[in-house]
Amino acid sequence: MNCDELREHYDLYALDIAEEPERGEIRVHLNRGCEVCMAQVKRSLGTAAMIGASAPAAEPSAQLRTRILASVGLEDRRAGWFPGWVSALAIAALCVVAVYLGFTGQQYAQTAARLRSQMREQAAQIAGLTEAFAILSGPNTTETSFGGAQPRPPQGKVFLNPARGVLLIASNLPPAPASKIYEMWIIPKGAKPVPAGLFQSQASGSAMHVHAGAVDMASTAAVAVTVENEAGADQPTTQPLIVAAVPAAPR
């Protein structure tokens, strides 16, 4: 097929609803570097991106940012362990100083943006720790250990709270190899494992991962961790490194 015959199918290709043989033809044209098809497909992908951007606005939780940075082994940097009002005061003081020193409008905007970003990071970090603390201190939280009987690491504990979620704390868990990531799984009784988020451990071998959300304790058999490819998997593809059996709920 020539490019003109494919003209009506670029949008369908970008939406993943093009059918054969047109889909395959577009693929062939792209693979051989056809400039016409490349330009048209890019425009159609731009349209698709705009449709995606038309989704109703929604706000993720404050801790998602911290999770994402932590999952690639980065720390969500915070100003410190000061109370919130101390940070706010310090930021306000910095803003005053910045104005006093005669910053240009652009410099001031950059400084303000950086400070706002730091405040967001701090809030996200605190939210993550708060979530972990809520699980740890919850009256209905169940605790289970893993790795205790093994001569080699990793070792640690899993805390499950039916209303709050699952908290995993591990030590002696080396950072996953390049292009790999750790994935936590909640394993229901007699059913397939359910993905419970990706995380990376610190260089020291310590790791903390929170999966927020309700957990049906009665139907959960275990919590496990596997090594997966960078983007994670829908089902485990490797043997679990960590398996923490969930104790039966008291009658």
Binding site: L45, A48, A49, S54, P56, A58, P60, I68, A212, A231
Partner: protein
Amino acid sequence: MLPIFLAIYAGPEERALISRLQRRDPKALAELYDSYGRAAYALVLRVVRDRAIAEDLVQETFLRVWNRVHQMDSEKGALGPWLLAIARNRAIDYLRSSAGRERNAVELSETDHAPLYHEMEAEILISDQARRVRAAMDRLAPNYRTVMELAYFEGLSQSEMSEKMGQPLGTIKTWVRTALQSLRNELGVAVPS
């Protein structure tokens, strides 16, 4: 309703951000999230309709960008549309996997190859455009809007739409074609035919 894109990188800043991501600058990932995190989350949530799952998938999306950003040309790349394509594909993969229909699991990744997002119009995701698309979608006739949403947000093929809507395949194809043409007409220059 707040616009999804309150901030967007212009050309030079976007190029600098890609370079910094490629150099593994930790602050660059934070900036990437601050720019596109809400949009990715809104899109994924619209697909999977579960906040916890949506956050997991957004996390996977940013991980994938972090690990594949070297495939993007820092002089030409358009991070936003690429990131949204990855987010959408992750979400649709999840939907299909959870529903036991993994038909296009491999094919979907075709549309998030980084080079396809080189030299893309920089203004494609500015908030005004997003609002225009949303308004244009709202103005589509219900049947046309439904097929666009089933295709983009639910990942249904035209045959699957035919089954779901109880309409002949030919009718669905006509609706899809007409819906796309209507969007083009509504958006004019933004979506060249």
